[in-house]
């Protein structure tokens, strides 16, 4: 039993709403999709390039409004670009998105309209290079807080988010691309889901007692549902991903797993912040006597 002040939390819970974990999903989907789009471009897989670039543009187009709505003063969203601060993952992310969003949307627009193909290829290349960073910086964003379940997982969360992003991007591309061209999407989905589930397991083990929120309660239930969706989606993609209806089912499951993973991590942070023992316990061990 840890001493505390009337059992009250020491930390403040985040003020972020569901828009933020939803953005973690859409942003991760956009980032990994743009990387897949670039790979498809380099290997001459035009059908996969089209669906991947389309998913990247759609993901980033939804991300912007989600991020702006969550601000306490949405009209001041441009203040995000007032300074550039490497100590603030949100500042780094804002600048990343400022470069990534036009490239991802421009690449898809060029592909669909057939206009400015060279510029479109350059934009797809730019978005594809930035994509992996867009998909993983959000893990640093949550880890760079005082919340134990987030901060102490800072070595695993980027891999969890990378795997989750790949599973989502692979799932969308798998469901929307003709089977003959969707081989890379199937493989990416399976690798991504494996990394997502693996990183989550490693994270829980490394966190030890601090893993409680990821294993029990609402966040724990979300994590279990995420794992079930991701694993069944990956299995379906691997064994029956060449057939259209099963490909769509697999893609839906993979996206659901990816989305649930982010909501589980998000919710776990609130539960961890609310528990004074999670804050005090580890600090007591390292307190100088």
């Amino acid at each position: 039993m840890t001493d505390s002040y009337y059992g009250r939390p020491i930390l403040k819970a985040p003020v972020w709403k569901w828009y933020i974990p939803a953005y973690f999903f859409t942003g991760g989907l956009a980032g990994a999709s743009s990387a897949l789009g670039l790979a498809a471009q380099l290997t001459g897989n035009r059908r996969l390039r089209r669906t991947a670039l389309g998913a990247a543009a759609a993901g980033v187009a939804v991300s912007g409004p989600l991020l702006v709505i969550d601000l306490g003063r949405p009209g001041r969203f441009l203040n995000m670009l007032r300074v550039a601060k490497p100590t603030s993952p949100m500042s780094v992310g804002s600048w990343l998105l400022a470069a990534f969003a036009p490239a991802a949307i421009g690449a898809a627009a060029s592909d669909v309209t057939g206009r400015a193909p060279r510029l479109g290829r350059a934009a797809a290349a730019g978005a594809g290079v930035l994509g992996p960073a867009v998909a993983t910086y959000t893990a640093v964003l949550v880890a760079d807080t005082a919340i134990p379940a987030w901060h102490e997982a800072h070595q695993q969360l980027p891999f969890l988010f990378a795997g989750s992003s790949m599973a989502g991007a692979g799932g969308v591309a798998l469901a929307s691309t003709p089977a003959a061209a969707a081989g890379p999407a199937r493989r990416l989905a399976v690798i991504g889901a494996a990394l997502e589930v693996g990183a989550s397991r490693v994270m829980d083990r490394r966190l030890g007692e601090l893993a409680g929120p990821y294993e029990e309660g609402r966040a724990g239930r979300l994590a279990k549902a995420a794992e079930a969706c991701s694993l069944s989606g990956a299995l379906l993609a691997a064994v029956a991903g060449r057939r259209r209806p099963t490909a769509i089912a697999a893609g839906t499951l993979l996206c659901a797993g990816s989305l649930l993973t982010r909501f589980s991590v998000f919710r776990a942070g609130f539960e961890s912040a609310a528990d004074p023992a999670a804050t005090v316990g580890p600090q007591r061990l390292r307190r100088p006597r």
């Binding site: 002040y5 009337y6 020491i10 897949l36 003063r73 100590t87 993952p89």
Partner: protein, 291 residues
């Protein structure tokens, strides 16, 4: 008030608070003075059933918070015996501070909490707009005309100090009365404190005064007395507003060994770079031509 030769080459001395909880009487004049001077909105009239504390915690609308801790005395004197500091009990200035002073009853700890104005301030580090900044007094203040209410500082603070004012959309916390400091005035809470539990001044001077006070208390037998946040080598580089406590920090709702989250940020970026490379590698493997 201002000293020409401040620390770290700044022109002015670092200003701060020393809150000596051993002389706090729980009058809450600091809470009231802070609200009045800074025009802080009400934070709800809730009965919290926490001793005399109906304020609860620091937050967007609470920049000073007086904690009331009731701890049973260590000794197990028979019921009805006179309190240790009663008439004829050999009263000493420290008698009612001793956790194991004989006699039944309750030992009251009172402490006025405030923003720590950390040397390494997580809120300031993670703020993406630059709204949070370090003033010429080495205090940490939110520029309300810049804050866009992203809320990142809220879970970054290891003390749970800063919070968002929902109706307003922006974050708020103690400014160490930045406006008063600029006019060479003492912050409202310190000015109002009737027992000089809240002391304001150049941090160097406050630290000397605090170690002197700690010595007096220790000599009087208050072994539990300790300084909290006076050490520059702690996880946040020392507090600009530090404390003398009479029990473990967590008893007062304070983290025992807080660390600024950005201390681990280089490692986080390295992990993210590794994960981004893994993502790129997985995509490359996925598109490799099959045979």
């Amino acid at each position: 008030m201002r000293h020409p030769a401040g620390a770290k080459g700044s022109l002015m001395a670092r200003m701060g608070f020393f809150t000596d909880t051993s002389v706090c009487i729980g009058c809450k004049a600091c809470e009231v003075a802070c609200k009045e001077w800074n025009d802080v909105p009400d934070d709800g009239l809730d009965f919290l059933a926490m001793s005399y504390d109906n304020t609860g915690a620091l937050g967007a609308d609470t920049w000073r918070h007086v904690a009331f801790v009731e701890r049973p005395r260590g000794g197990s004197a028979p019921p009805g015996s006179p309190p240790a500091n009663g008439p004829g009990a050999g009263w000493s200035p420290a008698a009612d501070l001793l956790p194991d002073a004989g006699g039944a009853g309750v030992r009251w700890l009172m402490s006025s909490d405030v923003c720590k104005h950390c040397t390494h301030a997580a809120c300031l580090d993670v703020c993406p707009t630059g709204a949070l900044f370090r003033t010429e007094f080495d205090t940490v203040v939110v520029q309300q005309d810049v804050c866009n209410g992203c809320g990142y500082c809220v879970p970054a603070c290891p003390f749970g100090v800063i919070d968002k004012r929902e109706a307003d959309g922006r974050v708020w916390k103690c400014t160490l009365c930045y406006d008063r400091l600029k006019a060479d005035l003492t912050p409202a809470c310190a000015k109002a404190c009737p027992t000089e539990s809240i002391q304001f001044g150049p941090l160097e001077e406050l630290r000397e005064r605090a170690s002197g006070r700690l010595g007096v208390l220790r000599e009087a037998g208050v072994a539990e007395a300790r300084l909290y946040g006076a050490d520059e080598d702690d996880g946040v580089g020392g507090f600009g507003a530090f404390f003398l406590l009479l029990d473990e920090p967590e008893i007062y709702g304070l983290p025992p060994a807080p660390v600024v989250t950005t201390r681990d940020l280089p490692g986080m970026w390295r992990a993210a770079a590794g994960a981004a490379l893994a993502l790129a590698g997985a995509v490359a493997v996925a598109v490799l031509p099959r045979r």
